[in-house]
């Protein structure tokens, strides 16, 4: 699944709903669905709030499911990039001022199995979210 959306805050809800719908084929629990929605919301919101100065930046979302039932969601922007990824990922670190908690990455890491971040200053940032689904379809719930 691939999606390109403009960096407007109105699209946050659309983006997380699409991601949630896509992963329905993995037969997720209500809790897993909520985790995916929240993690995607964090990644997309970061592109909107931090990557671009204007609302016409582009956000690329790509989702796939591997043969071993791992959901992989990539959220990519072509914005300002992150200088120090380690520092950015520390809980409570924010460049967003008083109204931001600095918890987006902490939430992604807590709600998904793995979070990978790559970034180049002035080229953009890619956040990749991984979640493995262990329930095979032939297992009883």
């Amino acid at each position: 699944m691939e999606l390109k959306i403009p960096s407007r805050s109105i699209n946050e809800s659309f983006a997380r709903s699409v991601a949630a719908s896509f992963c329905l084929q993995l037969d997720p629990t209500i809790a897993e669905l909520a985790e995916i929605k929240t993690a995607v919301s964090e990644a997309v919101t970061n592109c909107i709030v931090h990557a671009y100065d204007t609302p016409d930046g582009e956000i690329y979302i790509k989702a796939e499911i591997t043969a071993d039932n791992t959901l992989i969601i990539k959220v990519r922007d072509r914005g300002r990039g992150i200088d120090n990824i380690k520092q950015a990922m520390e809980p409570l670190f924010t460049t967003g001022g008083e109204e931001r908690a600095g918890l987006g990455f902490a939430v992604m890491e807590s709600f998904m199995d793995k979070v990978k971040v790559t970034s180049k200053p002035n080229k953009g940032t890619t956040v990749t979210l991984y979640k493995k689904f262990v329930r095979a379809t032939n297992e009883k719930p």
Partner: protein, 100 residues
């Protein structure tokens, strides 16, 4: 439009739906204009009908905590649904003593 109740110096705001960066901006403006006008002793945010919240909602809570301190009042958070409790606990805002 905010769904509110104001009595005995307590302003209760009944939040609903999805709280993210987009809806959070509007909520912040509306709540702040209410608290600035009414100067309640206590601002109570009721989460009963909130279906989704990401870290923007944590920022909203922390910001209102600060705003209420500036106005000489307090903040309380009530009726957190289970799915939202998780992100609230992760954030540590409960250490501010705002959870009821």
């Amino acid at each position: 439009m905010l769904n509110t109740d104001y009595r005995d110096n307590v302003l209760t705001v009944f939040l609903s739906g999805e709280i993210d960066q987009h809806t959070g901006q509007t909520l912040r403006r509306e709540i702040d204009s209410c608290t600035e006008a009414l100067r309640p002793h206590l601002l109570c945010l009721d989460f009963s009908n909130v279906k989704f919240m990401d870290s923007s909602g944590i920022g909203l809570i922390m910001g209102r905590f600060r705003q209420m301190s500036l106005l000489g009042g307090r903040l309380k958070i009530t009726n957190l649904p289970d799915n939202i409790k998780r992100i609230v606990m992760l954030s540590g805002v409960q250490t501010l003593g705002v959870l009821v």
